[in-house]
């Protein structure tokens, strides 16, 4: 930072002297803090009738409120040029006394590529210069030693390394200049590659891998960009470079300089540098084997086999196995998600190739083909086992142009015999990954809040949200977040309109990370209910029930509630009983069971179940709400009020109904007025008024309130059960109520 050796800070701000500012600062504060309409009077007051002072303060205030272009954006944005490496400046005209740089022809994650003239042999070459920021952190000797090993490779399908060197800190290596195109470019432009063309490329790549692996060299970055088409054959470039960088950065010194505290990164240094710091250079996320992504030090040649699988996948499908995802999500998918089988995506993929690709993409290295030689054998067999001998013969002809293999490819289409149509959601493996421990702790807390409901729900939202921020790949936390958000309009001063978007994005994020989760479907079902889309809600709840884990009762509870809203008490009871089997001690489940028994007139069962709920958890919000209703129904008014008094919210609509209907109308009306006097009017205020008015017997006013509630999209239609709830008995058959039922897409009466 600035040490100011020459310029001692004067403390002055241009013409504004520091001392003067000290005097003016409180005056400026006062004006800045004033309400917009009060500005001029405050200005007059602070300047105490001194017009010069007034003008000075006013000018400073104006300047405070004026935008400052270079400060109004965060520094890394406005000053982003500073973060770009200045590569060109560091490259001399002639490298190593031998290569005259002509022009830059490409840029990758780890190197820039220059067309250069090899002055010694009078030929054009490609000089690849390692990015300076990367080069700085590499062990140079180690890097050059590794490159030397790669330079020994001699194979028709491998682009050789001619030379390498360190020119005053500029690390480079030299290769023949391949005009290309690369497979990446080939995929981007021109006609789609035929299956035959694809198989031909794959055989060439497999040959290159087999030869290199036999010579102890792994690639570590097999991808379409690194396979070039040259005179009809595919040649693999940059062999051993990624490995050299990985090896040389493992011994990196910059992270360990001096201070002891730097050791905190040492334990993870290798994986950290391999997957993140070197980033797109070493292993490209879209093509990276799980063990490589996880930074497993035992990563071997079988990582190349996996990347080969990704390359093959892209050739046939047009995209790698995991795409359209954020980089971190791609990495997570490599580790924990099964790809959609190729045969689901394209009819043109030979069955045997599709199977081979699936094997290459196995998560465990031991489950993949163990050598590139095996790949080659399989790819050959893809043709020799075919029904058409003529093709086999033709295949053996020397291949000079791509056209030859196109003919082969057309015939190969006939090889498709069966196709696996297993849907992706059923195929997806559950991600197995280490969750950040703090995120896990927050998630567990969130789950508890979710179960308790009431005012704990807001805390649960925050806990889930923090967990997702700590661990952006934590599918369960996103799922929990979606559910807690979806439930919050019942308990918090937050409207369904406010939560719908966040619920959807959290649910979608969760499902993208793990398509087998149930909670996001529950959350989506709730949002559909809020919008009166009952059929869509049913679909989500049914999916959730199907996917739910054995101890997850939420899908059953919400599906049961859905049935109650539709007036189907018997179906609801079935769901709640299933939930009871899953979680016998759940107060939430007992409460809903009790409520349903009450709707069915089985008051003894209702009473017993309600007491059970309260015994299991005397603070559970739902247990208190339903317990009070049941006690009212049984004539136990003091008991009902005792439960209401334990509700954490004094304005709870069911609670106020209980107070009103048991005769304490003064308290009920008083609290209602308090609630309604808040500005802006709280969410569910109209619904609460309807409940209180029902309780005091003013059905006209209750109906008016319900109509206002419907206008405001309040969720009275799912708060209780409009078709069954005793609260609505006095108005149920009225035309006004029936009209409301139609507005929320509910039938006129219970089935």
């Amino acid at each position: 930072m600035s040490d100011g050796e020459l310029r001692q800070p004067s403390g002055d701000f241009g013409s504004l002297l520091a001392d003067r500012w000290q005097q003016l600062s409180p005056l400026v504060d006062a004006v800045l803090d004033a309400q917009p309409g009060q500005r001029s009077s405050v200005l007059l007051e602070v300047s105490a009738g001194d017009p010069a002072l007034r003008a000075e303060v006013e000018r400073l205030v104006d300047e405070c409120e004026r935008g400052v272009p270079m400060l109004d954006r965060p520094a890394a944005e406005g000053f982003s040029q500073l973060l770009v490496e200045d590569v060109d400046a560091a490259i001399p005209d002639i490298l190593g006394g031998r290569y005259r740089i002509e022009r830059e022809v490409g840029r990758g994650g780890m190197a820039r590529v220059y067309l250069a003239r090899d002055l010694k042999h009078s030929r054009s070459v490609a000089v690849k210069v390692i990015r300076p920021d990367l080069a700085r952190s590499l062990g140079r000797d180690r890097f050059l030693r590794e490159i030397e090993i790669a330079a020994r490779l001699r194979h028709p399908n491998i682009v050789p390394v001619y030379d390498s060197g360190d020119a005053d800190g500029v690390l480079y290596f030299v290769m023949p200049f391949e005009e290309g195109p690369s497979i990446r470019e080939r995929l981007r432009v021109g006609a789609p590659m035929s299956p035959g063309e694809c198989v031909s490329v794959l055989r060439d790549v497999a040959r290159a891998l087999a030869y290199a692996h036999e010579h102890g060299v792994v690639h570590r970055d097999v991808k379409p960009d690194n396979v070039m088409l040259s005179s009809g054959a595919a040649v693999v470039t940059d062999f051993g470079i990624a490995k050299a960088i990985a090896a040389a950065s493992a011994g990196d010194e910059t992270l360990r300089m001096g201070s002891d505290s730097i050791s905190i990164v040492r334990t993870q240094a290798d994986s950290l540098r391999t997957i993140t710091q070197v980033g797109v250079g070493i292993g490209t996320p879209a093509y990276m084997a799980p063990e490589q992504a996880a930074g497993d030090p035992s990563t071997d040649h079988r990582a190349d086999i996996y990347s080969f699988g990704c390359l093959a996948y892209e050739l046939f499908a047009g995209h790698p196995p995991f795409h359209d995802l954020a980089m971190a999500e791609v990495v997570a998918a490599h580790i924990g998600t099964a790809p959609v089988p190729l045969s689901n995506l394209s009819d043109a993929v030979p069955e045997s190739v599709s199977r081979l690709v699936a094997q290459c993409l196995e998560k465990k290295p031991a489950a993949r083909p163990q050598s590139a030689q095996e790949l080659l054998t399989e790819l050959d067999a893809a043709q020799t086992t075919g029904p058409n001998a003529a093709i086999r013969r033709r295949r053996r002809l020397p291949r000079t142009v791509l056209g030859t293999s196109v003919i082969v490819g057309l015939a190969l289409i006939g090889y498709v015999v069966t196709r696996d149509r297993t849907p992706f959601s059923a195929m997806a493996a559950r991600p197995v990954r280490a969750v950040n421990p703090e995120a896990r702790r927050l998630y567990d807390l969130g789950q508890r809040g979710l179960t308790l409901r009431g005012q704990k729900l807001q805390a649960a939202v925050e806990q889930f949200r923090s967990a997702t921020q700590l661990d952006t790949l934590y599918a369960d936390a996103f799922g929990g977040l979606s559910l807690a958000l979806a439930l919050s309009p019942y308990f918090e001063n937050i409207s369904t309109r406010q939560v719908a978007g966040p619920v959807r994005s959290a649910a979608e994020r969760a499902l993208r990370l793990d398509s087998t989760l149930a909670p996001p479907h529950v959350a989506l079902g709730l949002v559909h209910q809020y919008a009166y889309h009952w059929d869509s809600a049913a679909t989500e709840f049914e999916t959730a029930v199907r996917l739910r884990k054995a101890d997850d009762i939420e899908p059953l509870v919400q599906y049961g509630r859905y049935m109650l809203h539709e007036g189907r008490a018997a179906g609801a009871l079935k769901q709640f009983l299933a939930a009871r089997d899953a979680e016998p001690a759940s107060a939430l489940v007992s409460s809903w069971l009790a409520f349903t028994y009450m709707l069915q007139g089985q008051m003894d069962s209702a009473g017993a179940e309600s007491e059970r709920a309260l015994q299991n958890d005397s603070t559970n919000y739902t247990a208190l709400q339903h317990g009070a209703s049941i006690r009212v129904e049984r004539g136990d008014f003091p008991g009902a009020r005792a439960l209401v008094n334990r509700l954490t919210s004094p304005y709870d609509r069911a609670g106020l109904w209980v107070l009103a209907v048991t005769g304490d109308t003064a308290t009920a009306l008083g609290r209602l007025r308090q609630l309604e006097s808040e500005r802006p009017t709280p969410w569910l205020a109209a619904t609460t008024r309807a409940y209180v008015m029902m309780g005091v017997g003013d059905t006209t006013e209750a109906m008016a309130a319900l109509e206002r509630a419907t206008d405001a999209n309040e969720i009275w239609h799912v708060s209780g059960s409009p078709l069954l709830d005793h609260i609505f008995d006095p108005v149920r058959s009225s035309a006004r109520f029936q009209a409301l039922l139609r507005r929320v897409n509910l039938p006129a009466s219970a089935p």
């Binding site: 930072m1 241009g14 500012w21 300047e63 272009p69 905190i264």
Partner: protein
């Protein structure tokens, strides 16, 4: 968590203005930010702009996951990352100026918008000096600049870091911008 993780109360250190122990963590955060920024820009082929929030967020995730530092919480980290970001940018600006220019500098101000890399370097060094100046008279305002400008933190996040209200942050930031502009255009 490991037993010997440095448990530095960054917030307290920041508020007190003492940065000894904070400096022990700085290289780690610095390195991480530098690498992420460089990689993000590489992905954009050297152009475009960075999302500071995304940058710092990514650094946070990596360091929380991988460094095993006992970060108290997010604001703990954000506070440190904001300072680290200032270091990164100022160091890069100095390096560029040292490498590039012999003289004949164009005068650059905070009101300019189209700045090339050398202009940005020039302005960043001036700005850094101006913030030091600001810190001499109004230390809290300088912290607000670090959080809002270098760290890309919101008013609320800055308020949490500095233990003041968001309204105070808003006022401080307005005053700081005014003072910095005056200091630099002088």
């Amino acid at each position: 968590m490991e037993e010997d993780t440095p448990d530095v109360d960054v917030l307290r250190e920041l508020r007190s203005g003492r940065r000894d122990s904070l400096d022990r963590l700085m290289p780690v955060v610095y390195e991480q930010l530098r690498v992420i920024a460089s990689r993000q820009l590489t992905l954009r082929k050297g152009g475009g702009t960075l999302s500071t929030t995304g940058l710092i967020h990514e650094a946070y995730l990596k360091l929380v996951d991988q460094s095993r530092v006992a970060w108290r919480d997010r604001s703990h980290f954000f506070a440190l990352a904001s300072v680290a970001m200032r270091h990164v940018l100022v160091d890069r600006a100095r390096a560029r100026l040292a490498q590039k220019r012999e003289g004949g500098l164009r005068r650059v101000t905070l009101d300019d918008e189209q700045l090339d890399a050398d202009d940005q370097a020039e302005l960043m060094v001036d700005l850094n000096d101006a913030i030091d100046k600001l810190a001499a008279t109004e230390p809290r305002l300088a912290r607000v600049v670090e959080c809002r400008f270098f760290g890309g933190l919101t008013e609320e996040e800055t308020a949490e870091v500095l233990e003041v209200t968001a309204r105070t942050v808003q006022r401080d930031w307005a005053k700081a911008r005014m003072l910095l502009r005056r200091a630099i255009s002088a």
